[in-house]
Amino acid sequence: MASKLSEADSGSSSADTEGAALPAAASENAATTEAEVQHREPLVKVTHLSESHAGTSLIARVVALSGCCYVWVGEGDWAGSGKGGRLPEQGAVAAAVQTPYEAMPVVTELLGEEGGFGGGMAQRLAKRTGQMVYASVNVSNAAAESLPMIERRVLAVLQGAG
């Protein structure tokens, strides 16, 4: 299990040279900081969607921020999970943003190979919402027929959040 981080572990190499005097002061600072931290209810809205069509089930997750969002789409039967109860794959990550230089948003693959479904979805959602959209779409070609339906629902979420 990962250990809790104190301020003394924040990666400063100078801590190694200050010897025994540092740990006590760092512990006091860490205890003071812990007392000052207030845990809040998260305000970032995460929406889970699922759509079944022609024997395939798609699940989607939308993390809505201000002026941008992250969308993940995968195959599965339960909201937020993949087939067989295992965690699903994230797959490639594409990003799209509207610019004043072209009619369609500029799209690029940040991770993974180009040519997947994520780039197109990110581009279309960016066009419709005006937001910067990051998208990961990890579905088989057979399940891709259902993508337009879940994309419409994702769009509704983004337009409702905006």
Partner: protein, 115 residues
């Protein structure tokens, strides 16, 4: 079944930091934001080193490439979370939220969300 999405938020010195942790089979994605933006995206991969530990490689995919604090966040989170796959970090910090106390609180919160 492992929980796929975990969220949290903390406030320290008047700055609120939102955290979203998404677990996938091939990657873990962590959003840390004080600006309600995705911010800079970094990918951290690790491999066993010859000395018995692990070596970490941090790559900036999008955003600020001149901010060493973001690299520190990425490396520290990857190391503390002890993942067996890459970490994708999206991080957006305010100028006032770049102190070491916030850094420690954010890392601790991410670890707590993972437990």
């Amino acid at each position: 079944m492992e929980q796929a999405v975990r969220q949290g938020a903390l406030e320290l010195h008047g700055i609120t930091t939102e955290i979203v942790v998404q677990s996938f089979s091939d990657r873990t994605m962590v959003n840390v934001t004080q600006l309600e933006k995705m911010g800079t995206m970094l990918l951290v991969t690790s491999e066993a080193s010859g000395m018995g530990g692990r070596s970490f490689n941090v790559k900036t995919l999008l955003g600020r490439r001149d901010d060493p604090l973001l690299l520190v966040y990425a490396r520290q989170l990857a190391e503390q979370m002890r993942l067996d796959h890459p970490l994708l970090l999206a991080i957006a910090l305010k100028e006032e939220g770049r102190d070491s106390a916030t850094f420690a609180a954010v890392v601790n919160k991410v670890l707590a969300l993972g437990q």
